[in-house]
């Protein structure tokens, strides 16, 4: 028996990450697009407890940053004034889950200083805020695209497996065609045939549709296999002889059989699709500025001076690792459990 712990730990981690990302506006101190031209590439803020006079503060604080003349992207701390970190502060306006307007932020410091928890980018925008808002694009593009592909895939798979004959023949030829094409190429190709300059929302939807559409073949084949074996089961045959309709048989007897495979496929597909979004946005084919996505945040690393000098620009990429790890553990555990059960 697989321990419940092995499945609940990655699930818990994923749930936390998604919750934080959904409520990005609350957890992020600033708006993702608010620029600070005097502070490009500011390093991650150093959080202090002891000030320059050696006095202990119970409330953590940061110092304001002053740029060093003549040296771009180098700063020193202005020790004359402390900016205590406050919680539940009033700040930039944001929309919670796309509808409720709010001003409350988990933490922040008073103006004019800025607190860049993990540094700022070339326009002086807060990396941390952008990371959270970017997660909305990257993580949910993966999630939605995976759902789309599974819906399309299982739909075709069920039809092919259940009705057989020429429908099966035709759908399976199509599946072969899609499986034959190299995945990234296909993604690129479909992207190539769509307009280049579009709004971020349209870009997001387009990515979801493209990625989901390109990946439907594998789940379709798997689902078809299960349906093929499920429809020959005695209880299905019995149900048919009792006069059950196709729809009833599918809904009650056949679709539940596919659930486990579909679940495992979801856990395998989502990280792949997140990566697809990140890759496309990295190459400038996905969501564009100023809307952040983990891909277009990484894109600035294509400039050598940024790659070499500012390590915090790597963080959106590093953030992918725990997420991928969780999904892989989840898929692994699901697979093992299925083999045993």
């Amino acid at each position: 028996m697989i321990k419940t712990r092995t499945i609940s730990l990655p699930l818990l981690l994923l749930a936390c990450i998604h919750l934080i990302v959904v409520c990005a506006g609350f957890f992020a101190p600033y708006d993702y697009a608010s620029q600070n031209r005097t502070l490009p590439f500011a390093p991650p803020a150093r959080i202090h407890f002891v000030d320059s006079r050696g006095e202990w503060h119970f409330r953590p604080f940061v110092y304001g940053l002053v740029d060093q003349p003549g040296r771009f992207g180098y700063y020193r701390e202005d020790r004359s004034q402390v900016y205590p970190v406050r919680f539940f502060v009033h700040g930039d306006e944001y929309k919670l889950i796309g509808s409720v307007t709010a001003h409350l932020h988990l933490f922040g410091i008073s103006e004019p200083a800025r607190m860049f928890l993990i540094g700022s980018d070339g326009y002086g925008r807060d990396q941390f805020s952008r990371l959270l808002f970017g997660g909305q694009v990257s993580l949910f593009a993966g999630l939605l695209a995976a759902s789309l592909s599974l819906v399309i895939g299982s739909g075709f798979g069920v039809v092919a497996g259940f009705y057989g004959k020429w429908t099966d023949e035709m759908i399976m030829r199509l599946v072969e065609l899609f499986l034959a094409l190299p995945w990234l190429y296909l993604l690129f190709a479909v992207r190539a045939f769509l307009p280049l300059h579009i709004t971020p929302t349209a870009a997001f939807l387009m990515l979801v549709v493209i990625i989901g559409f390109v990946g439907w073949a594998r789940p379709a084949r798997l689902v078809r296999g299960i349906v093929l074996s499920a429809k020959e089961r005695n209880y299905v045959l019995a149900g048919r002889n009792f006069g059950a309709s196709d729809l009833y048989l599918l809904r009650r007897h056949i679709l539940p059989q596919t659930a486990s495979v579909v679940l495992t496929q979801t856990a395998l597909l989502i990280p792949q699709y997140i990566l697809a979004e990140v890759t496309l946005s990295f190459l400038g084919l996905g969501v564009g500025e100023p809307t952040p996505s983990w891909g277009n945040m990484l894109a600035s690393l294509q400039q050598y001076h940024i790659l070499v000098s500012y390590w915090w620009m790597f963080i959106p990429g590093v953030a992918l690792i725990p997420i991928f790890l969780s999904y892989f553990l989840l898929a692994n555990t699901l697979q093992k459990r299925l083999k045993l059960g």
Binding site: A180, L184, F188, A192, T279, L307, G317, L320
Partner: protein, 320 residues
């Protein structure tokens, strides 16, 4: 033999299908190469219409497709608007560079994956196996993009290896040995990244198939005969586990042109990847279609080669 003839016919149909699909998608797409030029005030609408006519873009889709098929028959694969040459020579030179990168990477990955996979299957549950599986999981979770950027950073910081590109300045003046060294140095980073990227999947497959074989009775019998461990693993167990691995090897060949797309772009290797990206951004659609078709050909070729290898390796398939 009839089997292979059927496969080739099937492959031809696949290629035709892919090309038609590409053309239909292209037709659905708004804008073309010259649409971007419309923003240029120096070009009048008449000039653009003339250009379109010259390149045959004003023709209906079936006509364009037929023209394209003719050019494929001539070995040209259409015409690149941006480079103003037939597509084929353009693709060939880029594909050669890509193969220079991916072939060593695939070879290296297999050379590492087989012993690692075999050993971790042989020592299932022991510390060697645990280390190997932790390693593959970690590699699986690190995106290739991040690996490539990380290695690039490392090379820039240390200065040991050239960062990006394929050749140094002054390459043409080097002796052939110098040229070889130069290209090898440039290959180091992308090959490492690609190898690490494909390694975990290979190791996992080798391990899984070996585990299955090692449980079979004939292995126990061989062990009871006192056959040494190494000989048992590599002479008795591995050949028995070969069939799924050969199919996987076919996929490795199939992916030779497409696996390195992203890495090439990151380290600016002059292969198919950057060309394809450029063509997409510039709407140079015949180049895109050519690249897709070329990689599909590799895919078909890869599966064909793996079938041939299966044929050679497994007598059961031969007698069928």
């Amino acid at each position: 033999m009839r089997f292979f003839l059927r496969r080739i016919v099937h492959a031809t149909f696949l290629l035709v299908g892919v090309s038609i699909l590409s053309f239909v998608l292209m037709e659905l797409a708004p804008g073309d190469f010259f649409a971007e030029m419309r923003l240029n005030p120096q070009l009048s609408a008449e000039t653009l219409a003339g250009l379109r006519q010259q390149y045959g873009l004003d023709q209906p889709l079936p006509v364009r497709y037929l023209h394209w098929v003719q050019s494929v028959a001539r070995g040209e694969f259409g015409f690149s608007f941006a480079y103003n040459t037939p597509v084929a020579p353009l693709l060939w030179s880029r594909a050669r560079n890509t193969l220079l990168l991916t072939a060593p990477a695939a070879l290296l990955a297999w050379l590492i994956a087989i012993p690692v996979g075999v050993q971790s299957a042989a020592r299932q549950g022991e510390w060697e196996d645990k280390i190997a599986s932790a390693g593959t999981t970690a590699l699986l979770a690190i995106p290739e993009l991040l690996l490539a950027l990380g290695f690039l950073l490392l090379s820039l910081r240390t200065g040991y290896l050239p960062a990006g590109g394929m050749i140094s300045i002054g390459f043409s003046e080097l002796s052939w040995w110098g040229k070889f060294q130069d290209i090898t140095a440039h290959l180091a980073i992308p090959v490492t990244v690609l190898t690490l990227g494909s390694l975990p999947i290979l190791v996992r497959h080798v391990r899984a198939t070996m585990l299955e074989v090692l449980q079979s009775p004939f292995i126990n019998a061989a062990r009871a005969h006192g056959i040494p461990r190494r000989r048992l693993l590599y002479r008795h167990a591995l050949p028995a586990a070969l069939n799924p691995l050969i199919s996987l090897f076919g996929f490795s060949i199939a992916g030779l042109l497409s696996a390195s797309l992203l890495v090439e772009i990151v380290v600016s290797w002059p292969g198919l990847g950057p060309l394809l990206l450029e063509a997409i951004l510039g709407r140079d659609l015949y180049v895109v279609i050519g690249a897709i078709l070329l990689s599909t050909m590799f895919l078909v070729g890869g599966t064909l080669i793996s079938d041939l290898l299966l044929f050679a390796a497994d007598p059961r398939i031969r007698t069928r």
